[in-house]
Each structure stands twice: as C-alpha cells, then as structure tokens.
C-alpha cells in the first residue's frame, strides 16, 4: 500500500461512514451536516486523484451551495429540530436488502474487472489550466447548453415557488366569494419566505 492508497482509503472510510450516517440518522439537520462531511472527504479523495479543480468545485458547489439549499428546505418545511422517529419507512429492510445486493454486484464487478489495474497519478493532471482549456476547446458546446439548462431551471424554480405568478385571477375570485378560505392565508404567508432560497440560488449561479 502506497501513501496515496492509505490516504485515499482513510478518506473513503470517512466518506462512506458519514454517508451511512446521512441515511440512518434520526435528526434531519444532522443528516445535512453529515452530508457536508461526506462531500468534504470526497473532495479530499479528488485531490488525491490529482483532480484539483473538481475538488474545489465540489467544495464550492456541494458543500457551499447544495447543503445550504437543503438546510433551507429543511427549515422552510418546518422540520422538527430534535429526533423524529418516523424518518424511515417500514419497508427499510427490503431497501437494505436491495442496497446490499447493489453493493455486492457493483463491488464484485469492479473488483473482478479492474482489481489489479494501477493508475498513474501525475501531478497537475486536473489543474484549472488543463480543465479550462479542455472545457473551452473541446467541450464548449455542452458548456453553453448547460448554461441554458441552468437558466431554465432557475426560471422554473422561481415560477414553482412563487405563489402569485399565475393564480392571481384565481385568488381574486376566491377572495370575493369567500373572504377567509382556510387554505389561503397559509399559502400566502409561506409565499414570502420562499423568496429567500430563490435569491440564494441566483447568487450561487
């Protein structure tokens, strides 16, 4: 075992262990925080694999943005802060069996297929310079398509989470007939704080 393998094995143990805690913990907020640990350990693994730029993007986007968005979602859905007993569905033994079967098949195939292959680790192979020239020379068309996709998802998220985009005539009608319908004030009250994650999302991109 070389030093790189030792470091990668340790980081992999941390990543897999915290991922296990993500799917088994009884506290929602702890699940999001264990996700940070898992993604951080994976970023370290990318560094060991000489993919520096991917590692920093992983830290920026996953740890910085996606986990924050998930925490926003947890808080906006008014999840209980402490332990909640019903986070797992009753069929989780079936789920565990399926996951164990998936792990067995994948690990067997990968170890049998690539078990004695060695990969050369060349420093600087995934630096920002190399990846930048690859993106803007070879992969520039998918890059641009991806920016259109991001714009579409941004517009979609805003339209989905704003409650006053297309239902304005509807609401005026209900307000006229029924001054205080039971479902409406809640929806209106929730419409306000959801502007926050949108702003967050815009900022990230």
């Amino acid at each position: 075992m070389t030093g790189q393998e030792v470091v990668f094995a340790l980081l992999g143990v941390v990543a897999v262990g915290s991922a296990l805690l993500v799917v088994t913990t009884r506290q929602l907020v702890h699940a999001a925080l264990w996700l940070v640990v898992s993604f951080g350990a994976l970023a370290g693994g990318y560094l060991v694999l000489t993919a520096e730029f991917v590692a920093w993007v992983q830290v920026l986007i996953y740890v910085g943005a996606i986990v924050v968005l998930l925490l926003f979602g947890i808080m906006l859905t008014r999840a209980p802060i402490g332990e909640s007993a019903d986070l797992d569905s009753p069929n989780r033994w079936v789920a565990a069996a399926v996951a164990a079967a998936t792990a067995a098949v994948l690990v067997t195939v990968l170890v049998m297929g690539f078990g004695d292959e060695r990969m050369p680790l060349r420093a600087g192979g995934g630096s920002a310079e190399e990846l930048g020239s690859a993106v803007f020379r070879t992969w520039v068309l998918p890059f641009e398509v991806l920016s259109v996709l991001l714009l579409a998802s941004l517009v979609g998220a805003i339209v989905l989470s704003r409650s006053d985009v297309r239902t304005k005539p509807d609401r005026a009608k209900t307000d006229r007939t029924k001054p205080e319908p039971d479902g409406e004030p809640e929806a209106e009250r929730d419409g306000e704080p959801e502007a926050a994650p949108d702003g967050e999302r815009e900022g990230e991109r």
Binding site: V54, Q58, S89, L121, P142, A187
Partner: protein, 122 residues
Amino acid sequence: MHLAYPTVVAALLFSIGVYGVLARRNAILVLMSVELMLNAVNLNLVTFDVWLQDRLHGGQVLTLFTIVIAAAEIGIGLAIVLLVYRNRRMIDVDRLRDLAEDRTDERPDRPASPARDEEAAR
C-alpha cells in the same frame, strides 16, 4: 494507486444512496440520497479519467457538468418539495398517494379542498 480503492468507495456510496432513496420517508432526505448517488458517479468519472489519462479530460469535464446538473436538480427538486409542503402541510413521500393505483375508486367521493383546487389550477 490501485483502481480498486476509488471504484469500491464509489460503489459503496452508490448503494448507500440507493438505500436512502428507498428507505427514507422525508422528501428532503430522499434528495440528499440522490446527491450521494450522483457523487458516487462523479468519483467513478474522475477515477476513469485519471486511469485512462484522457487528453481531452472528458471524465473530469463531465464531472463538472454533473455537479452543475445536480445543482439545477436540487433547485427544482426543493422548489417542488416546498410546493408540496405548501399544499399538503407534509412532505412524507409514503403518504403522498394521490397518484396510487388502488385509490382511484375512492377519488370522486372525496371533497376537494381549496388547496387542491389551487394546485389543479396551476
């Protein structure tokens, strides 16, 4: 470095994500498990990029694209989850059974709530 280390880590992460998607009831936890599966795929992409010494860096560039798509997916997914929460007051995926096959016969006699009307109008 042996190729077995990163690929085995990726396989284990992927199956943990599968377990989370199947076993969790909270929709946000399901989204977190999907993120775990996407990360496993990313690790595989980087590993095989480094192993093949791809001069075009296809694997790492595709990893960056996957990360961006994951960000878009989590944005849309959370917006949908928040919309479900606004209409139903819960995001328990086991109890969101309006599209289930076995309840179609009891749909007509159920009174429609204003929240459901608002959702249908969208």
